[in-house]
């Protein structure tokens, strides 16, 4: 008989330790991330095959777009670093510092989204839309799905920061939100090379 069953006869299973030694909230986020990674994987695989199989592929990105993408990527990777600071400060019990870091991450997320939308409008101005051909369809679908994740993340970060500062959420919530935000960053590391860098105008 296990130790937990001795402690509460008949309810041993309720007290069993998680095999992963992490809270159920965090495990749930990991499972969400894995399923979301497979979703992005499907889109990127589809894009990759169509891209390589299409000889006359549109290459619309000039150096201004590449500079825009460099700034966007810098903002997103930096936001992951500030999120690490937020998680660590919340674990150390420094509520004010954790909240500041989360708001800073939120601002970087907003900068990323704004630059992304600006890039979209520049493409619209050149007649490239989701209905203008195979490039537009794949580009706006993949970057749109990622942008949706960024906007959701920004909203989640704002809510977590305001509720955590009012002691309505715990450091565990900050950590779980951080996991999601790092995942958004991680997906971008595949979107940039495949969708932007292989389509630079020559």
């Amino acid at each position: 008989m296990s130790e937990s069953e001795v402690a509460v006869p008949g309810h041993g299973a309720l007290l069993e330790e998680s095999p992963y030694a992490i809270p159920s909230r965090k495990l749930t986020m990991w499972l969400f991330i894995i399923s979301d990674a497979v979703t992005f994987g499907a889109f990127l695989f589809a894009y990759g095959y169509i891209r390589v199989a299409t000889p006359s592929w549109q290459r619309p990105f000039e150096s201004a777009s590449v500079i825009n993408v460099i700034v966007m990527t810098f903002a997103l990777i930096t936001s992951s670093l500030t999120m690490l600071g937020a998680v660590d400060a919340s674990k150390a019990g420094d509520k004010a510092k954790a909240t500041r870091f989360i708001y800073f991450t939120t601002v970087l997320g907003i900068v990323f989204a704004a630059l992304h939308i600006r890039e979209w409008f520049q493409l619209f101005g050149r007649g490239i839309t989701i209905s203008s051909g195979i490039f537009g369809q794949t580009f706006f679908t993949i970057t749109g799905l990622h942008l949706l994740h960024v906007i959701s993340g920004v909203i989640a970060l704002f809510i977590v920061a305001s509720m955590y500062s009012r002691e309505k959420l715990t450091p565990g919530h900050v950590e779980t939100t951080g996991l999601y935000w790092h995942f958004v960053d991680l997906v971008w590391m595949f979107v940039v090379p495949l969708v932007y860098l292989t389509n630079i105008a020559r």
Binding site: I34, V66, T78, A98, M189, V192, P193
Partner: protein
């Protein structure tokens, strides 16, 4: 150790990973301006993206600090599913072109 010191340390601790991620990205940009064939360029960029993703996963998402059972439950399964997807998508391209393989 004060809370202030603790949260300052974590930024310093992960700063090398941050710079490596930025470095890999700049290498990707550099490669994109070189004249490689598209399949070769895609392969090189994907390899670098995988390196970035592994760093992000292990250090930013702290998978390296979790129990190995979590890693073994999540990552091999995900890779397996993605590889299986790879099998299906090649077939979907064939269907797009409406011709049997090899013709």
């Amino acid at each position: 150790m004060s809370a202030e010191t603790a949260s300052g340390n974590v930024i310093r601790k992960y700063l090398p990973v941050y710079f490596v991620l930025l470095g890999i990205f700049l290498v990707e940009v550099f490669l994109a301006f070189r004249s490689f064939s598209t399949p070769l360029l895609v392969a090189m960029l994907l390899l670098l993206a995988l390196c970035s993703a592994a760093l992000g996963l292990m250090y930013f998402m702290h998978l390296a600090e979790e129990r190995r059972s979590l890693f073994l439950s999540l990552i091999p399964v995900t890779i397996f599913v993605l590889l299986m997807m790879n099998m299906i998508w090649s077939d979907s391209v064939r269907l797009l072109q409406m011709r049997p393989p090899g013709q």
